[in-house]
């Protein structure tokens, strides 16, 4: 098992460990995620059809309407939220969503260093993302 520690910026506190779901496409939280199922439904998105629930959700940044923040809150309320969020650059929509949904969040992370289905540990206080990869 190889362990890679990525140092980023702490955004929302909390720790979580889980399987990474990595995208290279900005995500529209309002139109792009179904709050009932946690499924990504945004047309043309590279994660379309996958479910964010229980995952360490990694994407560059949010886009679209500012009320998209509420999506993360409702996902959390319904037990459908990702365990943590990792961004390249945090934007207000995702940050506010992570705060009100109590989802640990770190940014300033180079997402090319993480692959989907890596086991990843996010520390929202230290601002670190640790990647565990089978060799």
């Amino acid at each position: 098992m190889k362990k890679i520690i990525l140092k980023g910026r702490p955004i929302v506190e909390g720790k979580a460990r889980g399987k990474a779901l990595v995208s290279s496409t900005p995500l529209n939280l309002l139109k792009g995620v179904d709050v009932n199922t946690g499924r990504i439904i945004e047309e043309g998105h590279d994660l379309r059809g996958t479910v964010v629930t229980g995952k360490i959700l990694c994407f560059p940044h949010g886009r679209g309407s500012t009320v998209g923040s509420y999506t993360l809150y409702t996902l959390a309320k319904r037990g459908r939220a990702p365990k943590a969020i990792v961004n390249e650059l945090a934007d207000p929509v995702v940050v506010v969503g992570a705060i009100i949904g109590s989802i640990p969040m770190v940014d300033h992370i180079d997402l090319t260093k993480i692959r989907s289905s890596d086991i990843v540990e996010v520390d929202g206080e230290a601002g670190t993302v640790t990647v565990f990869r089978r060799m």
Binding site: T66, S69, Y70, T71, Y73, P92
Partner: protein, 391 residues
């Protein structure tokens, strides 16, 4: 790090309950992110995320938990438009589900102490003084406040404006700091802008070119208030600009220069406007109409009749409708409708058999093809109203 007073720290620690804590966390995190030094009191907040069409179900549960906590807004707060006219709900022919969902959202905001202004032009209802700090969402109102009114606000989102309303403060960064309000790009306009929709087209063009950089615009010949409103609304639609400055005599004009000519405007116009032979809807009121716009529409319509096969809709705030009653009567007698509390972008007009519209708003022309799946043609207010009456 954002410096907090003892009292603000107590709020952040949860001593005043969950709702105040979560609102404070939002402001402090955003403040950290954008390197604010402290929180500053605000004169008012304007909250977007009101129409059930744009809000969906996700937000309702959050608003419900806030309202259930008993928290009330500390700063005066106003609301953006909803999905229908409260006094004429049948006009938009909403389903029972949508109607009830919208009413529930409005009730929750009311419980939080937010005024049911339901307008994107809160400045026509109560004009904020110069140099006060605001926390406004609704990008067209943000640009208007910073550029025309001389008040100071960042381009807030629905949730951050709500958090500011609850705390009565906003993090001190961006448009709240004098050094960040200065012009970055000198724009020289060499084109004949005869009416307000041309100012809108200029805004669409500049928004694309500027991104979030503040322009100093030269070459506009004594523009009217409504023309600047259209310019700002469009600028904020295609770009992230929060402010424009009209040519100043300052010694420190920005180094970067661009010029805009007729050809640029022609290209931007053809991007957002298509030929519409017979529009299903003629729409004036994005952003919501002022008293003087209502008056002008009435004076064009006086003695005329709107054709049977076209709708003429004018959107404004309930406040302006009340103050321009005599003109509203003229418009409605001619067959037009003056709607309040709503606008076509945040309602489901595409389900009313409306496939094409004619408007004087470049912002509407920019958004409606996507938001409402309709074809849009752009013309001046006068041309729009006359077209609705032509036989």
């Amino acid at each position: 790090m954002v410096y907090l007073t003892k009292d603000e720290e107590r709020a952040l620690d949860g001593e005043y309950g969950w709702a105040i804590q979560v609102a404070m966390r939002i402001l402090v995190k955003l403040g950290d992110l954008f390197k604010a030094d402290r929180l500053i009191p605000i004169h008012s907040a304007h909250i977007s995320g009101v129409s059930y069409k744009t809000l969906g179900d996700a937000a309702t549960e959050f608003l419900e938990e806030l309202a259930a906590s008993g928290v009330k807004v500390k700063a005066p707060a106003t609301l953006n438009p909803a999905a229908f006219d409260l006094e004429r709900p049948q006009l938009m022919r909403l389903t029972e589900h949508r109607l009830n969902a919208q009413k529930r959202i409005l009730r929750l905001y009311e419980d939080l102490g937010v005024k049911q202004t339901l307008s994107c032009t809160p400045y026509y209802i109560s004009k904020p003084p110069r140099n006060v700090h605001l926390s406004w969402a609704e990008s067209s109102a943000v640009v208007y406040a910073n550029s025309v009114l001389g008040s100071w606000t960042n381009r807030e989102g629905g949730p951050s404006a709500l958090a500011s309303a609850i705390i009565g403060a906003t993090p001190n960064y961006g448009m709240h700091r004098p050094e960040e309000r200065e012009g970055k790009v000198m724009v020289t306009v060499d084109a004949d802008l005869r009416s307000e929709e041309k100012f809108g087209v200029l805004g669409i063009h500049l928004g694309k070119v500027l991104g979030d950089e503040i322009p100093v615009i030269q070459g506009l010949k004594s523009p009217k208030e409504r023309e600047l409103k259209q310019l700002g609304a469009a600028l904020a639609s295609s770009g992230m600009v929060s402010r424009f400055i009209l040519s100043q005599k300052s010694s420190s004009l920005p180094q970067e220069k661009i010029s805009v000519g007729e050809r640029d405007l022609k290209n931007s116009l053809s991007d957002i406007s298509s030929e519409v032979e017979k529009p299903d809807l003629v729409f004036i009121g994005c952003p919501h109409c002022s008293y003087s716009e209502i008056k002008e529409i009435a004076s064009i319509l006086y003695g005329k009749k709107v054709r049977e096969d076209v709708r003429l809709w004018v959107c404004t705030s309930r406040h302006v409708k009340r103050t321009s009653k005599e003109y509203v009567e003229i418009i409605e007698r001619a067959g037009g409708k003056v709607l309040c509390d709503t606008c076509i972008i945040v309602s489901w007009i595409e389900e009313l058999g409306i496939d094409s519209l004619l408007t004087n708003s470049a912002k509407t022309a920019y958004y409606a093809p996507n938001m409402n799946r309709v074809e849009v043609s752009l013309a001046s207010l006068r041309e729009c109203v006359e077209k609705a009456c032509e036989s």
